[in-house]
Symmetry: C2
Subunit: 220 residues, 2 copies
């Protein structure tokens, strides 16, 4: 796990700090996603969150910190939720499939925020950007682990797993990036299923791989 970044606050009660920051976060993600970072004013955020502009500066030391907090929230959610959701699966193929499903589901929940990450990571200071990218890398590692398990276990044929990770990750992100094109054609479930057909099936070994893939379709 990374060194969790400290954002300075003048408020002492940690409970209150978390509550207010969550409140500000919600407003900020909504507005940044909608109007973009630079077009969103601190006053906008304050009004949407139902507080005064000055109060934001009790919980964040500058506007950029609010953006950084929002983007870290996104990558931290990926990193935290994917392992939780694949914990049940023991079979490597099942784990891989479930990690894709989990990732897509999280992206779907954080669709606006995921887009925001693509648009606004460059607006961060180098230090903040480094943290966000490091978080993204850590969730990539989870997927990479699943792929390598499939290869090592003989479920996948030899394949460039380094590159395949990015295919998986981009497929999940693309649900947010191209949502305007997909929303009318696919449900999230359909999108995930198609993704497995495109990204998992082709690499399965004929017997062991396909066998495991079939088995997970009709469980119990």
């Amino acid at each position: 796990m990374s060194a969790p970044i400290k954002f300075a606050s003048t408020v002492t009660d940690p409970k209150l700090v978390e509550e207010r920051r969550t409140q500000i976060l919600g407003a900020a993600i909504k507005l940044f996603s909608d109007k973009g970072y630079y077009r969103t004013t601190i006053l906008d955020i304050a009004k949407t969150a139902g507080i005064s502009s000055g109060l934001i500066y009790q919980y964040f030391s500058e506007k950029e910190d609010v953006l950084c907090f929002a983007l870290l929230h996104v990558v931290d959610t990926y990193e935290r939720e994917i392992p939780t959701r694949i914990a049940g699966a023991k079979d490597p193929v099942d784990r891989l499939c479930q990690s894709v499903e989990a990732y897509c589901t999280i992206v779907d929940n954080l669709r606006d925020a995921t887009l925001l990450a693509y648009r606004s990571t460059k607006s961060l200071s180098p230090a903040g950007r480094k943290h966000v990218m490091a978080g993204e890398q850590r969730s990539n590692q989870i997927i990479l682990g699943c792929i390598n398990e499939c290869i090592d276990g003989g479920y996948f044929r030899e394949v460039n797993s380094d590159l395949l990770v990015y295919q998986f990750v981009m497929y999940c992100h693309t649900w947010a990036l191209k949502y305007w094109a997909f929303r009318d054609k696919y449900t999230l479930k359909q999108y995930v299923d198609e993704g497995l057909k495109l990204l998992v099936e082709p690499y399965l070994t004929p017997r062991k791989g396909r066998g495991a893939f079939r088995k997970r379709q009709e469980p119990l």
Copy 2:
């Protein structure tokens, strides 16, 4: 082709207009990519282009027009160059492979500008955004055509071509989006070759498809 957008200019000589706009475009892409749209001032652009700030307003009516011009330049380049580069190939599989190679090569040439498109399309007015997205859609259609030719000609098995297009396009864009991760591991050529292995090979029909794919490796 789309209705080419007119950007207002007070300067009468069309030759000069094109020359100056190209000059401004170069500075703008460099600076927007580097510092982001909002952090780049008109004065920055003027200085980098070697002209005065006021002169920019003789060639564009507002700052946003400069951004719009830059993003349209990117999508227009895709749309113009891909067909040119695949004109030689007659075999559908070859056409598809060459379109990927062409797209990746153009992305590589316009790497900064491609990133800029991801980051800044939302900063455009709805009208401008619509034009940029329409341009992007038109180059997608080119790839879609190649895939469908492969399917119809019996080179590809039945596959969700709608979705596969986005896989191809995203693969090409990812060269720009994740360049920081790829630059040390792959040359552009290697990246393209790996892409064909991941995105073309799995869908080839055993005889006709694979045959055509093999043939293009050792031509004459």
